[in-house]
């Protein structure tokens, strides 16, 4: 009788661990939250099944799609075997003339030519200016590219999970320079860089804002150090960098200064992290927070102008179109604020539209339409005037 009793205890002992691991609720797979870009009537977006698609906004039809190579899903915990999974795409596609640039979680940068892709030619077609570049792992845990690429002049700038910043030649994908910025303990670079003049600035999880030469990638003398890591990508307005932090403050840092110009909120910290990059317009900073609030802050003083409580975390950066400020919360509700109207201390949105799906990705807006990729892998086109979803398209690849 003793033997079965002990074996039962062993089974009881191992079952919880096995179950927890196989359920994989805590070993979250990278699914990606690529944002949308609209260029000359075509919408470009990365899908949750690892494709880059282009959709005609007039006909609502798929123009072309390109499937990135699947990856072997890493075994996590006591996971039940390895499987092939689509490559996650977090960055928003960047369109420059007839090329669409995208970075992937598997560490690739792809330059896709619209014509070559619409003809479904084998990738890459060098005569069409297509190329792919593999980010080195460099003894790191990952070479994943999470942040959006920055295309400026003849170069592309990107940050990688291996702690390095790279500059690539836009035309051929050749490496211009690489800059090792972060040490072993803070390798992840998941934020996008910004450029002002000849300097590239980026915020890091090690609590620094670094400045690099865009010509050589050399670290410049100035850097700003905070006690806590920065959660959001930085934004530059004038000579000031605005960036959200894990300590639940939004920082305004004058370039060249060692102390912050201000921190918002001025008294108690906010209810959660400032995860999304803020937007700045006419000396006003609009910052969404994971505490569910959107704040309008005076850029010079850090004083609060108004706030609005959406009730759900704001993960995506707000978008400004003319006099309209468009904000989405994680539950998929779109709030439109008329900035030309008097908003008071507690702003009231002009429109509130629900798309019925969670939203984590960045979105774009043009001519009264908002283009949002939902966490259900559908593209939603919201008509602000009509106050509802105009049309939507399923981005999941159909099996033929």
């Amino acid at each position: 009788m003793k033997q079965p009793k002990i074996l039962l205890l062993v089974v009881v002992a191992l079952l919880p661990l096995t179950l927890v691991s196989c359920i994989s609720g805590y070993t979250q797979l990278a699914k990606g939250w690529s944002g949308t870009t609209v260029h000359e009537g075509i919408i470009y977006v990365g899908t949750m099944d690892g494709r880059v698609v282009s959709i005609n906004s007039s006909t609502e039809n798929l123009e072309w799609s390109y499937s990135t190579a699947p990856v072997t899903a890493p075994s996590s915990g006591l996971s039940c075997g390895q499987t092939s999974a689509p490559t996650a795409i977090y960055g928003t596609p960047v369109v420059d003339r007839d090329i669409v640039y995208i970075g992937t979680y598997s560490g690739q940068v792809l330059a896709l030519n619209m014509l070559a892709r619409s003809q479904n030619l084998t990738f890459p077609q060098q005569r069409y200016g297509e190329w792919e570049w593999d980010c080195p792992i460099d003894n790191a845990k990952s070479n994943a590219i999470v942040a959006a690429l920055l295309v400026r002049g003849d170069a592309i700038y990107l940050s990688s999970s291996n702690g390095r910043v790279y500059s690539l030649d836009k035309e051929f994908g050749d490496l211009n320079w690489e800059s090792k910025v972060l040490d072993e303990t803070h390798r992840k670079l998941w934020t996008s860089p910004v450029i002002q003049g000849n300097t590239l600035y980026f915020s890091a999880y090690d609590g620094h804002i670094y400045a690099l030469s865009i010509e050589t990638g050399e670290l410049l003398d100035w850097s700003f150090e905070s006690e806590t890591g920065f959660a959001s990508s930085p934004v530059i307005y004038g000579d000031t960098i605005f960036v959200g932090s894990f300590d639940r403050y939004l920082y305004a840092v004058k370039i060249g200064s060692d102390v912050p110009m201000w921190k918002f909120p001025q008294e108690e910290p906010a209810g959660n992290w400032f995860w999304a990059s803020p937007v700045v317009n006419e000396d006003i900073v609009y910052a969404g927070c994971l505490d569910g609030r959107i704040y309008a802050i005076e850029a010079k003083t850090g004083g609060k102008l108004w706030a609005f409580n959406a009730g759900n975390p704001i993960v995506s950066s707000p978008v400004l179109v003319d006099n309209l400020l468009i904000v989405t919360d994680e539950s998929g509700t779109v709030y439109v604020f008329d900035l030309s109207a008097e908003l008071g201390d507690e702003a009231v949105p002009l429109k509130t539209i629900s798309i019925g799906a969670d939203v984590r990705s960045s979105f774009s807006a043009q001519e009264g339409l908002v283009y949002i990729r939902g966490e259900d892998n559908q593209l939603y086109v919201v008509d602000i005037d009509r106050g509802g979803v105009s049309w939507k398209v399923d981005l999941t690849e159909k099996e033929e």
């Binding site: 003793k2 033997q3 009793k5 002990i6 205890l9 062993v10 009881v12 002992a13 191992l14 919880p16 661990l17 927890v20 691991s21 609720g25 805590y26 070993t27 979250q28 797979l29 990278a30 699914k31 939250w33 075994s75 996590s76 915990g77 006591l78 977090y90 845990k141 999470v146 072993e184 303990t185 803070h186 992840k188 998941w190 999880y205 006690e227 806590t228 890591g229 894990f246 300590d247 639940r248 910290p269 209810g271 959660n272 992290w273 995860w275 994971l290 975390p313 993960v315 984590r360």
Partner: protein
């Protein structure tokens, strides 16, 4: 409220937040935070551990009586078993008592496993998910993101052989120290199998779980060995030779 939400509210989130807060208190070293949490869990489970140690001590003190019984009923295994069980019962000793503190720790293991995976945020989704699970304590938010390296271990990665050997080895020593002598050859065989199988299985599991959890197991075992050494005044049954070997 779903089971997952209740679990997070009662166990998952408290363990996660304590771990992150400890990390901030200990110079941002997540590995030290895991060690500190291990000590805390050991302190909380002290009443159970004490009961188990008392049981082990009582078994040690009963050794002369057990040997007497073995001499007396050596040829009648059934009678020997009956008499030994009677002796255990009279002394209020449960030979399987050493397993209970381990069983009690299961929820902590699960919560710790989840906390490590959440806290080290290996994917953007898990980092974002972490925001919803952290308390609004300054000490917790200031600790993010955590350092995943400690003493050459990547606490969020699996597959480290050295820590697997340490976990298996320390578990074997701890089990050997506390395992009461078997009352019959069959139990002796089961015990021997368990003493070998459990460390082997845990060593194997260690290769598949994050090194942070393995660190918890290793430290917990080492603390267990130290406590047992001082409480029972020696290495217990580590060097004990089974009387049944000669009868087999």
């Amino acid at each position: 409220m779903s089971f997952g939400e209740v679990w997070n509210l009662i166990i998952g989130n408290p363990v996660l937040n304590v771990l992150v807060a400890l990390s901030q208190l200990l110079s941002g070293e997540f590995g030290l935070a895991i060690i500190a949490l291990t000590v805390i869990v050991r302190l909380i489970s002290w009443p159970l551990t004490k009961r188990q140690l008392n049981s082990t001590k009582a078994l040690q003190e009963m050794q002369p009586k057990i040997q007497e019984l073995q001499k007396k009923y050596g040829k009648n295994q059934q009678k020997l078993q009956q008499e030994m069980m009677k002796l255990y019962k009279e002394a209020g000793v449960n030979p399987l008592g050493c397993l209970w503190p381990m069983l009690i720790q299961f929820p902590i293991w699960i919560a710790l496993y989840q906390a490590i995976m959440s806290a080290l945020a290996t994917t953007p989704e898990s980092l974002l998910g972490l925001a919803q699970r952290l308390y609004s304590w300054d000490i917790v938010n200031q600790a993010i993101p955590l350092k995943s390296h400690f003493l050459g271990l990547d606490l969020g990665s699996s597959g480290n052989f050295i820590i697997a050997i340490i976990v298996g080895g320390t578990m074997w020593v701890q089990q050997k120290m506390s395992q009461a002598p078997a009352v019959d050859p069959r139990q002796e065989s089961t015990q021997r199998m368990m003493t070998l199988m459990m460390p082997l299985m845990f060593g194997f599991i260690t290769l598949m779980v994050p090194s942070g959890l393995a660190l918890y197991w290793a430290v917990s075992n080492i603390i267990g060995i130290i406590i047992q050494y001082f409480f029972t005044g020696g290495w217990g049954y580590l060097k004990f030779r089974s009387p049944f070997k000669s009868t087999q």
